[in-house]
């Protein structure tokens, strides 16, 4: 009873179509009873299999069937391979294209990022420069101070010389002594001082004295009001213009004038170039270009004028601001050793280092 029940439910069981092995075996009667019954169950529903069996039951079609079946199978397999290889090639090409496009995007993004980074860096540098100027300005203040002192000190010296030895002081000597720094004592000038000293032996020494007494305050006023190195040079020229009239004798006067002119040209030329170089170095120093300023100051260190000492001092300041304390200390020591007007400043800087 139970086996009958199972069989009843198998009325609606699903059976696959005949495969290429079962089909001829069914026709030849080479199937087991169970297998045959299962295939016949399928044949009840499947028109395709039943039609195929009906056709192949005829001998003329049976002969054609086998070669055609093999050839169509081969045809499908070949077309699958062709299709599959072309598909794989297409997939590979698509992948490659994607990779290439990703690479292009990557490089574009990288280039943009680099560009943006560069712009950002430049902006930061500009900001840094904008933020930094207080330091160079402070340095300039420091720098300007020595110039003032170097100018004021000679003035004091001039006042002293003008007040005490009136008899010994001559106009020519004063004008020569008024030349900037005490360190700057040139042998040529000294020789000419002697020649100038010889001249005042003449009966009228008074007018030069007046000029000496009158001139220093004027100079002091000018120097105090401006206190800039640029105005240093015009003052002595004005003095020199004032000095000639008191000379009584024409011949010595001419000689003296010639001598004065010679001393001026000999003396002014190096100081002028030194001053120019010093100012140029200062400009670089103010702009914060310490390396360029250092190289410029170095050119001036050999100068025997006051700028030699000043440039050494500034050089030491530059080294200090660069953090090269050893070099800075050495330069300050050199300035101290020079025993010039910057000695005290250099000493204090040395102490503070």
């Amino acid at each position: 009873m139970s086996s009958n029940n199972d069989k009843i439910l198998k009325i609606f069981s699903t059976v696959r179509c005949m495969n290429r092995d079962q089909l001829p075996r069914y026709l030849d009667g080479r199937l087991t009873d169970l297998e045959k019954h299962l295939l016949e169950q399928h044949l009840v529903d499947c028109d395709l299999c039943f039609d195929a069996l009906q056709t192949l039951s005829q001998a003329k079609y049976r002969e054609q069937y086998q070669p055609l079946s093999v050839s169509i199978q081969q045809y499908i397999r070949n077309s699958i391979r062709k299709v599959s290889t072309t598909q794989k090639v297409e997939r590979y090409q698509r992948l490659e294209q994607k990779k290439e496009s990703f690479l292009i995007y990557f490089w574009v993004v990288a280039a943009v990022a680099l560009g943006a980074g560069g712009v950002y860096l430049v902006q930061q540098q500009n900001k840094f420069k904008a933020m930094n100027p207080p330091q160079p300005i402070a340095a300039v203040d420091k720098v300007m101070e020595p110039i003032q002192t170097s100018q004021s000190q000679p003035v004091v010296q001039q006042a002293e010389t003008a007040a005490a030895p009136v008899a010994s002081g001559t106009s020519g000597r004063d004008t020569l002594q008024r030349r900037p720094t005490p360190a700057e004592v040139k042998p040529v000038a000294l020789v000419k001082k002697d020649t100038v000293k010889a001249a005042p032996a003449t009966p009228k020494p008074a007018p030069p004295k007046d000029t000496i007494k009158k001139l220093p305050p004027a100079e002091q006023k000018e120097e105090k009001s401006t206190l800039q190195p640029a105005r240093e040079t015009p003052a002595p020229v004005a003095e020199k213009k004032d000095t000639p009239p008191p000379a009584p004798k024409p011949v010595p006067k001419k000689e003296k004038e010639k001598d004065d002119d010679d001393t001026k040209t000999v003396d002014a030329q190096p100081t002028g170039t030194d001053e120019f170089l010093y100012k140029a170095a200062m400009v670089y120093h103010q702009q914060g270009d310490l390396n360029e300023a250092i190289s410029r100051y170095k050119h001036l260190t050999d100068s025997k004028s006051k700028y030699g000492e000043l440039s050494r001092y500034q050089l030491a300041v530059c080294y200090r601001s660069k953090g090269q304390t050893g070099k800075a200390r050495r330069m300050f020591k050199e300035v101290v050793r020079m025993n010039g007007p910057m000695k005290e400043k250099a000493q204090s800087a040395l102490d503070s280092l």
């Binding site: 009843i8 009325i11 089909l23």
Partner: protein, 200 residues
């Protein structure tokens, strides 16, 4: 280059073997969703011998009906149809397309499985699901027995002889002196009749 070629062929063969083990439904799904033409090829190859057998009487009956013309056209038609039409039973779909190709008036009509076919399929699914549940199986068995008792006598006789007594088609045909085709048609009608009653 040689090792690569060999390895590629091996990979292709293993792929084909894996696809051959898949059911018709899975192959159709792969061919549609993944546009896997290998799956499509495996499916068509599975039924190619039946296509050849069914098409043999049609070959060389008219100009342009040689094997080299008919089979590529049929395969292309099936390939196009596979992508657009709903296929419940591949054998019905292939049979419909072969007949449509042979009878050129029907070639533009799309394939739809018949109502009877769908009813039979639903009953088949129901019995398959009930196989794990004994209670449901008992209920279904009672229903089927009731339906068989409602069938005409001839259909009932053929069903009983064929499915319960496991007689062959030839034996059944010989017992009633019918042709095998007629015997098969009676059984088919009886099955469809049962399915329609069960699905009511």
């Amino acid at each position: 280059m040689e090792p690569f070629r060999f390895s590629y062929v091996n990979i292709g063969n293993t792929m084909l073997q894996q696809l051959t083990n898949l059911s018709d439904k899975e192959l159709i799904s792969r061919a549609r969703k993944l546009k896997d033409q290998e799956a499509e090829g495996v499916l068509l190859e599975r039924y190619s011998h039946l296509m050849v057998a069914v098409c043999l009487p049609y070959l060389n009956t008219a100009p342009g009906t040689g094997a080299d013309d008919v089979f590529p056209v049929l395969l292309q038609r099936l390939s196009n149809s596979l992508k657009t039409q709903t296929i419940h039973k591949v054998n019905e779909w292939i049979h419909y397309n072969i007949k449509a190709m042979q009878d050129k008036s029907d070639r533009n009509l799309p394939f739809f499985s018949t109502t009877e076919s769908r009813e039979i399929q639903q009953v088949e699914n129901r019995i398959e699901q009930a196989a794990m549940n004994q209670k449901e199986q008992q209920q279904l068995l009672a229903q089927v027995n009731t339906v068989i008792s409602q069938l005409p006598a001839e259909e009932k006789y053929f069903l009983t002889k064929f499915y319960l007594e496991q007689q062959t088609l030839a034996q059944l045909a010989a017992s009633k002196k019918y042709s095998i085709d007629k015997t098969r048609q009676i059984l088919k009608n009886a099955k469809q009749h049962m399915a329609s009653i069960l699905m009511k």
